[in-house]
Symmetry: C2
Subunit: 385 residues, 2 copies
């Protein structure tokens, strides 16, 4: 390059002297937070119908349709009345409410959106996924896609993360719903294929079971794609290769980033990279069982949740990296992969922490985070350089 | 730049067609390790006399003069015979041996180098700093600059980090030398200005005391610049602003990055971001004492040691960042600062860990690390992009 410049200057092409590429002019990135929306009640997920027409789920509020330009928010009507409305539930560890929203790959043709949430009945609550037709601010033709029975009194580890694969199948994370290992049955919930909890599902867009799902045996619940899940929440797809990645909360440390593989067993509670809440808990032996290792685990608690693959242009050096929200201490991570292996991890905004529930990309490649706050925000991460 | 290329192509200067600016061709960095030297016995420090003529201290070996081109290593003769030769000391926690080497800012005129090491006498060992005139592979005119009495039987936390400031003063880290807090006297060593240990020193190039050093009172040891140090090792200067930064090992967690300030008290053992080795240890109250907070502390143990400010061209996005070696799990960190505040931390080579003692820059801006191994290496970090 240098020779080229000298060559040019020799010939006096001064036009070439000034405009240097941005990365040469200022090679350092300078991520800056720009608040786009405020007053969201613990926002959980955002679904881009187009660049500025979005649906946002408030964990402790409503399903909203929002215009990011006018900031106009409208409540989407017609939501099922079995929502475990966490506004009325006062429990320190209450995780209930509205969770993920994803649109069907052919949304423009069928207007189908998928919503996961904590549903309740007279016994308790559990994770439920519905499909609905969205017209303006109205949900119709609601179809139940998954109900992760049993309903129980517990109010945590619902999971509820969803993503469509390149195969147009819907992948869903369902948590184990236990808080204490001491409450595990002899065959732990996440290891019991007869139990719907603590699993990852792969379903057709109508909730039916794909013919090519892995076989967990005659007693297995329908739709199970992977087992041994404690409290997976965030799940996303790498648009480059279609691989699906999910985050998982450990009990004490043991927070993980995992690559989803069919019929894999992610080990909970037999195998964990963290410690048990109940020091005296002894999981059963499971000789001969293969457990899938996480791609990465943290030595400290970060409480990983919503994640995405960066494919924007504002941060050219981040292309193909995972951006992951951590609730604990409000950490945001950039994870560089090579051949599906983590080569480096960068914790961003160390001096400007905020609990975020989800990191996501817009259709035009803007990076956004949703903050986990009673008056939460939608924040765009721009390059201030 | 693009316009420039089009312009060039119009005129058919194909010579310019191929070499596109690195950052446009591939915006992602791709740090790669290239081994430059092998068979170094726990190398601790490297001092560049010029780009390829270096002095390397082997903690468990010798002071070597090495030609990085021919790889020729020669033992430097004339080293004092009071070196606590850790080759002969067999203790799991033995930290003795040769430590830092720095050259005088006017080395080309006076050939002075400064060496820190564990010196021994009939009582035990302690940290010692000498100045010597280097001619070829021979040390002469050896002058003692600092002896951190008392000598003791303990074999750890010597400190020994050294750097010259823009003020041409020599800054030296001296550890507290204790392993257990329960062995602290009523007034802890690092808090006692009458005790030479657990301090950072600022000295003239002949070991005398600068007139403008902070005043710690009539009983204070000469040359003390800051106190409250447990086990600081790495120390470096930011060439951009002359600020001096040092790393510090915590007891259980509590690993820190600190900005050096005159007369500052860094708190040990009264105030720590980690836990005590001895759970039952209760430090004395010290009301009215101001303790300096670290610029950053880690929640996990990383064992931070040698650090440097990146000022090379291979990684334009890293300019001005701290590169820090962590012994624990073999971690290497890139720390981005804005206004002397940490804005992000990236752990590098997560999938290719190696214990490193020091990260340093060559005069031409190459980034090197020294690995902490019985047959250690000098490794250059190149951008494989």
């Amino acid at each position: 390059m240098k020779n080229c410049f000298q060559f040019i200057l020799l010939f006096g092409f001064y036009a070439c002297e000034t405009p240097v590429p941005q990365n040469e002019a200022s090679p350092k990135v300078n991520p800056q937070k720009v608040t786009v929306l405020t007053d969201l009640k613990y926002p959980w997920s955002i679904c881009f119908l187009d660049e500025n027409d979005v649906i946002i789920s408030e964990k402790d509020g409503h399903l909203l349709r929002v215009d990011l330009v006018s900031k106009n928010k409208q409540i989407i009507e017609g939501f099922p009345n079995d929502l475990a409305d966490s506004i009325r539930i006062k429990d320190r560890r209450d995780n209930s409410g509205l969770f993920e929203i994803v649109k069907h790959p052919a949304f423009t043709q069928n207007q189908w959106i998928y919503i996961s949430y904590a549903a309740q009945n007279e016994i308790g609550t559990t994770t439920k996924v519905i499909r609905a037709k969205l017209t303006d601010n109205q949900l119709d033709d609601i179809k139940t896609i998954l109900v992760a029975e049993p309903f129980s009194a517990d109010l945590f580890h619902y999971g509820g993360g969803m993503v469509f694969g390149l195969d147009a199948k819907l992948y869903i994370t369902i948590g184990e719903r236990l808080y204490h290992e001491r409450d595990e049955p002899p065959l732990p919930i996440a290891q019991d294929v007869r139990d719907k909890r603590g699993k990852i599902y792969r379903l057709n867009d109508d909730g039916s079971i794909p013919d090519d799902n892995p076989d967990f045996g005659p007693e297995a619940q329908a739709g199970i794609y992977a087992i041994g899940i404690r409290a997976a929440q965030g799940i996303t797809m790498n648009p480059e290769d279609g691989s699906i990645w999910f985050s998982e909360h450990g009990s004490s440390q043991g927070d993980e980033l995992n690559l989803l593989k069919p019929s894999a067993n992610y080990g909970w509670p037999i195998k964990t990279t963290g410690k048990y809440r109940n020091q005296d808990y002894n999981p059963p032996e499971m000789e001969g069982t293969d457990f899938e290792d996480p791609v990465h685990y943290w030595l400290q608690t970060i409480a990983p949740t919503g994640l995405t693959f960066y494919n924007g242009t504002a941060f050219p050096g981040w292309q193909g990296d995972i951006i992951l929200s951590g609730l604990s201490r409000g950490s945001l991570w950039r994870i560089q992969l090579v051949n599906q292996e983590v080569v480096s991890l960068e914790e961003l905004f160390v001096n400007d922490r905020i609990r975020s529930r989800k990191a996501t990309m817009s259709p035009d490649g803007k990076l956004y985070i949703l903050t986990d706050e009673p008056t939460g925000k939608l924040i765009e991460i721009r390059n201030g350089r």
